[in-house]
Symmetry: D2
Subunit: 293 residues, 4 copies
Amino acid sequence: MANSKYEYVKSFEQPDLLLPNTWIVVRIDGRGFHKLSDRYGFIKPNDRRALDLMNAAAAEVMKELPDLCIAYGVSDEFSFAFHPSCQLFERRSAKLVTTIVSTFTGYYIYLWGTYFPDTPLQPGGLPSFDGRAVMYPNSRILRDYMSWRQVDCHINNLYNTTFWMMVLKGGMSNTDAEQELKGTISSDKNEILFKRFGINYNNEEDIYKKGSVIYRQYQLEDVKAGSSKEQEEEETTPLQAGIPSKSQQEKIRKLRRKAQVVVDHVDIIRDEFWDRRPWILSGKPGRLPAESK
Amino acid sequence: MANSKYEYVKSFEQPDLLLPNTWIVVRIDGRGFHKLSDRYGFIKPNDRRALDLMNAAAAEVMKELPDLCIAYGVSDEFSFAFHPSCQLFERRSAKLVTTIVSTFTGYYIYLWGTYFPDTPLQPGGLPSFDGRAVMYPNSRILRDYMSWRQVDCHINNLYNTTFWMMVLKGGMSNTDAEQELKGTISSDKNEILFKRFGINYNNEEDIYKKGSVIYRQYQLEDVKAGSSKEQEEEETTPLQAGIPSKSQQEKIRKLRRKAQVVVDHVDIIRDEFWDRRPWILSGKPGRLPAESK
Amino acid sequence: MANSKYEYVKSFEQPDLLLPNTWIVVRIDGRGFHKLSDRYGFIKPNDRRALDLMNAAAAEVMKELPDLCIAYGVSDEFSFAFHPSCQLFERRSAKLVTTIVSTFTGYYIYLWGTYFPDTPLQPGGLPSFDGRAVMYPNSRILRDYMSWRQVDCHINNLYNTTFWMMVLKGGMSNTDAEQELKGTISSDKNEILFKRFGINYNNEEDIYKKGSVIYRQYQLEDVKAGSSKEQEEEETTPLQAGIPSKSQQEKIRKLRRKAQVVVDHVDIIRDEFWDRRPWILSGKPGRLPAESK
Amino acid sequence: MANSKYEYVKSFEQPDLLLPNTWIVVRIDGRGFHKLSDRYGFIKPNDRRALDLMNAAAAEVMKELPDLCIAYGVSDEFSFAFHPSCQLFERRSAKLVTTIVSTFTGYYIYLWGTYFPDTPLQPGGLPSFDGRAVMYPNSRILRDYMSWRQVDCHINNLYNTTFWMMVLKGGMSNTDAEQELKGTISSDKNEILFKRFGINYNNEEDIYKKGSVIYRQYQLEDVKAGSSKEQEEEETTPLQAGIPSKSQQEKIRKLRRKAQVVVDHVDIIRDEFWDRRPWILSGKPGRLPAESK
C-alpha cells in the first residue's frame, strides 16, 4: 500500500537554513517564570538553587552538543552560540532551536529534585522554555551580543537587589519601592544599598552580578598585545578551506567532548576573557590541560 | 547605566510570523529514539507504555494550549494543529514550535516514572524531541496531512508487526526477515502473519493500527448528508469578521479549557470523524456534553 | 581550469519558494511617480495617456505570462495574480516578482512614445517600478485583496477629482483645498463637485472611478444562484489531483495564450464579475467565444 | 468612505529584511538571452555592442543608487553589491532587487537604439531580466563571490572563443566542435586557437577575458604591504558606531554622487585591485581626483 496519494503535503515544508558562515545564537527563556517562581517559592532577589539548576541544565546541553562554543545565562534565560563553521543539522533553524530547547527542558525537569529536594514539581505547573535563533555575521557582533546580555544582567541585578532589600529588609511595599527607584541611576542604588542596608554591592556574589558563562576548558593562553588581531585573521581566512567535511566535523566533535565543560562567573565584556580562551571564537579545540606538561 | 551601546544587536532578530489564515501544524519527533528504545528496553514492535506516555504528554500539551484543535501521534512523533484563526504568540513560528516541544518534553520526562516505574531515566540518555512548523492553506489539505500520517502509521505498523513476529516468534535473523519482506505488499504481510503465526492483523489493537488522535470532546453531531459542505462555507467566510480580538481569543480559550481532552484511536481519513466533530475544523467550541439535555 | 575554489559562495543563496496552493499577488508600484508626473507634465487629476500606457504594459505582461489569472491597476500601481496551482519558476518569489517588474518596465519604456509622442523620455528621469509578492490562502481573501484596491481607487479618485477641481477650476491654493477637504466624507466631496463645478461624480469615466481589470476573455457564464458555491468546491478539491505536470502546465499555457487579453473598467467587488467569469478563480480556461456557436 | 473592511489583507504581507551588517549582492540575468541574441543577430562569440549596452545600463544603475559599492558584469548578467552598512529601503530584499532590475531594464531598453541603431526592438521580443539578492557575511566572501564570477567569465570566454572559431573559421558543425571540446582543459583550447587560427588568447580584448567592473573613481592608494589588514579592521569596528543615521546616509550619498562612475576590465581576483581602491570595501568615500593636488 503506497502512501503517494497524500504525500504531496510534504511539499508544504519550507526550508529554514541559516546563512552559512555566521554565528548562530539560540536564546531560550523561561515561560511565565514570574508566576512559576512564586509557585515554587524562589528566594528573592536571587535563588541560588534555581540558578545552579539553570547552569546544570545548560552544561548538559553543552556536553550533548559539542558544536556549541559558549553559553551565557542570567535569570531564566540562556544563550547558546554555534560557530560560523557549524554544519550541525545543515544549519536548519527549527532543528537547532528545538534540540536545544528540548534537551535543556529535559535536564531542567530531570535535575529539579537535585536542586529543589523539598519542593516537588507539580503537574499543571511544569517549567517550560521557548527559544529562537539569531544570526550574527562576525565575532565582533557576537561579542557585542554577549556584552549586551551581561550588561543587562548587571542592570537588572542591581535593581532587583536594591528593590528586594527595600521590601524585605526595609519593610516597604512593592509599589513604594518601585516608585522610589524610578529614574534612579546606578550610583543612587549603590548608595541606598550601602547607606540603608550596609551592603557593598561590589561584594555581592559574582554569579548574581556577572551571570554564568559556560565553555570548554583548555589551557589558557597568555595575553599578548595584539592577540585579538589573530582571531580576526582567523575569521577572514578564505572560507572554502573552512567548511569541514562530515568526518572532520565528527573528529572535531570528539576532540571537544574530551574537554571539560566549566561554569564561570566572570567579565565577558573586556578582551581578556576572549584573548585567553582563543578557542571559543576560533572554533578550533585548544590544548587540553593534561597536554600542557 | 544604560544598555544602549550594545542594544543594536537586537536588530539582527528577524521576524518569523506564519502566514495569516492558514493551518499551522507543529510536528515533533523523538531524537535518536531507535537507540533510546534499546537503552530502555522498549518492547517490539510496539511498547504500550511508551505510546501511553507519548499520549499523556500530548494531552497535557493540548490542555496547556487551548488554541490547539487536534493532535495526532504515532510511534515517537506527534503533530499538533492550530486553527487558521489562531493568533497565539502573533503566530511567531519559533515561539509556537518551542513552546510545544518544551511542554511536551517536560511532561514526557516528568511522567516517565508513571509509565516506566521500573526503568529510571539515565543522565546522558534523556529523551528529547525536535520540531518544526508547517503551514497548510485550507482544511482539505490539513485533512490530507492527517491522512498522510495515519496511512504511514498503518504501513509501518503492518511492516513492523510482521517483521518482529518473524524475528521473535519465527526465529529469523533481522537481515533474513528484512530480505523476505522486501517488495511485499500488504496482502503478503497479512498472509505471513496469518499463515505462520495465526495472527489476524485486523484484530490487532487500534492504538497500534490507527495511532492516537487527541481532541476536545463536545457533543457529537449526527452525520447529515452534505454537512461537510458547511465547514467549507465556514472557511470562506469573509476573514475580516474572523480575526478575533484579544478578549474574544481569551474567551474562546476559556470555553475550550472546559472541554475534556480525549485520546482516541479511530479512522481520521474518512469524512465521518470530521463530520461528527465539526468543532475541530471550524475552530468554534461545540456544545459540552452536559449542555445537551 | 575548474571554478571549484570559489564555488562555495553559491551556498549562500537561500531558497524563497512561496507556499504551495496559495494565490500569489505581485504588486508593482511606480517609483517616485509624484516627481515623475511633474517632470513629464501628467494631466491632473488623471492623465488618460499615462493610464493607457500602464494598461498596455500590463496587458503585455499578461500575454507573456499565461500563468497569470488577472491583473488590477490604478494610478501608478498594478497587481498581478497567479493561481494557487501555478508552478511557474517553481514558485520562486524573487524570480516571479522580478520577471513581472522587468517585463512591465520594458514595455512601459518601449511604448512610452506611443502614448506620449510629444514628450520624449529623459535620461536621468526614466520611469521605474518596484514590486513584491504576497500570498493569499484562498479565493475569498484574494477577492478581498482586489476589493481593497478598488475601494482605494474610488477613495483616492473622488478626493483627487475634488481637490484638483478646487485648485484648477476653483482657483484655490493646494494648501487651502487640502485644508477644506480634511475630515470630509464622500457625500461632502460629491456636493462640492456638484454645487461648485456642476460635476456629477457618477458621470466621470469608469477608468478613473473603477480602475482597470485585465483578464483573458472567454464566453461569459450566465449567473445562476449559488454559482459561487461551485468555485469554492473547486478550491477544496483534493490537491494531489490538482498539481499539474510540466506538460499539463504547458498545455494549459497554450490554451490560455489563445484567449484575448481584455482591459475592463468594472466593479470587481460584487460577485457578478467573478460568477460570470469562473475561469479566473478556477484557473481553468473557459470556452473561447468562437467555440460558442 | 473608509477602507477598513478589506484592509486586513495587508496583514498577509511578510517582512523580508536582509540581515544587518552583511554584504548584499543583487545579481540580475537576462531572460532567454540565447533566443534573444539570435533574434537580434548578436555577433558570436562576443558582441561588443551588447556588452557596451549592458555596461551603460549598469553604470546608470550605479549612478541612480549611490549606495552601491561595486558592480561586475559578464555576458548577460550583472552583480551589484551593497555595503554591509547599507540601510537603503530598510534593507528590504524585494525592494532592493526590483529597484535594480527595473532601473537596469529601463535603461537597457531606452539605450538600445544607441548601441543597435540598425536593429530596432520588436514587441513580443523585448529584453527582460530577473534578479535575486544574496547575503555575504564579510568582505573575504564578497571578494570570493566576485572572483567566482570572474573565473566563470574566463572559463566561458575561452570556451566560446574556441568553439566559435572552430565553427565560424574552421567550418565545423556546432555538434562536432562541441564534441571535440568535451573534456579539454585550458591549454588544449589555447593550442587549438593558436595552431589552427593563429590566435594568441592573451591578446584578446580584456572586456571579453575579464568582464566589466564598475565602481566610483577616487584617487588610487599606493599599495603598501599589509594594507589589506586595515580593511579587515574596518569590518570589525564596533558596529553601534557604524550604523549611519538617515542624515549621515544622505550626506554619504551626496559625496558618492560626486565621484565618477567608471567601467574597467581588470583582474579583481588578486589583492591589488582592492588594495588600491580601499573605498570599495570600506564603504567610505575616498578622495576625489581633484582634491589630490
